[in-house]
Point group: C2
Chain length 161, copies 2
């Protein structure tokens, strides 16, 4: 659970970071930046902010924004509807992100670096000390199907007062 | 056909425009920016510059860069391999682009604006007077299958001396 104020601050931080990366958003987009604490109620440490540009039944594109040192905990995107699960390419735009992919190892992505994560592979990522902006290009995204290794994780964010 | 010098200048222009849009490229990427005159030998008027980030058998992401007033002539992305053809989302990053889509009409995309072009729909686009940088998110790209309404178009660029 996060408070309304935490949500507002995180949206503002994400909008600022995206702007600093040269990314122009519409007012509508700024208002629907998703703040995901993943049910862990410790947003500065665990979770991320997301803006989905498009998610059709064939492909998806998003921006991911992380606070300095914030980690998106280990998860995988399982097969669904006869597909092998979500395949996704991370491209770092600003700051630095450490990406761990099971069977591959650990990589540090800096602006201009990218990596494609195979479907259903366990992975996690953590922003460096200046935070991170990461573009994600992928097959269709079905966040609600994500499997996290920490059983406490809830994908849907509860916002309290 | 374009000359080696036209190719070099267009790559340099595209790299500068991407940098001005806040987009960081690796040296390897700068060197493989595609310059497409579409066989019309009039690059300032017809064609575009492209940088493909990723193109898997499920999705694709590119940056498109156009000179001021440059037009990518009318074309469509036909069905292939049992798919309905390439579906693509244009998101304007810098400058302005006028996009015409058959059955939809004409739109002007400015930074932060985006539009998704249905598979196999005829479309063309032209940059405004400051040129344009457009991010393209799509299903798998097979440029060599593109169908252009102008029979003089050749998708592959010939570079002469």
């Amino acid at each position: 659970m996060i408070t309304r104020e935490e949500q507002r601050q995180a949206q503002e931080y994400a909008a600022q970071q995206l702007e600093a990366a040269g990314i122009v958003l519409t007012a509508e987009e700024r208002g629907r930046i998703e703040v995901a604490d993943l049910g862990l109620s410790d947003l500065c440490t665990w979770g991320l902010m997301l803006l989905v540009y498009v998610n059709t039944d064939r492909y998806c594109a998003k921006e991911l924004v992380l606070y300095p040192g914030q980690t998106c905990p280990e998860h995988r995107h399982p097969p669904f509807d006869g597909t092998p699960g979500k395949e996704e390419t991370f491209r770092c735009r600003r700051g630095e992100v450490t990406l761990h992919v099971d069977g591959v190892g650990q990589l540090v992505l800096r602006p201009g670096d990218q990596f494609t994560i195979p479907p259903d592979a366990w992975h996690w990522f953590r922003a460096g000390e200046e935070g991170a902006v990461v573009s994600e290009f992928s097959s269709t995204s079905r966040d609600e199907l994500d499997v996290f290794s920490d059983p406490r994780v809830e994908r849907e964010t509860v916002v309290g007062d």
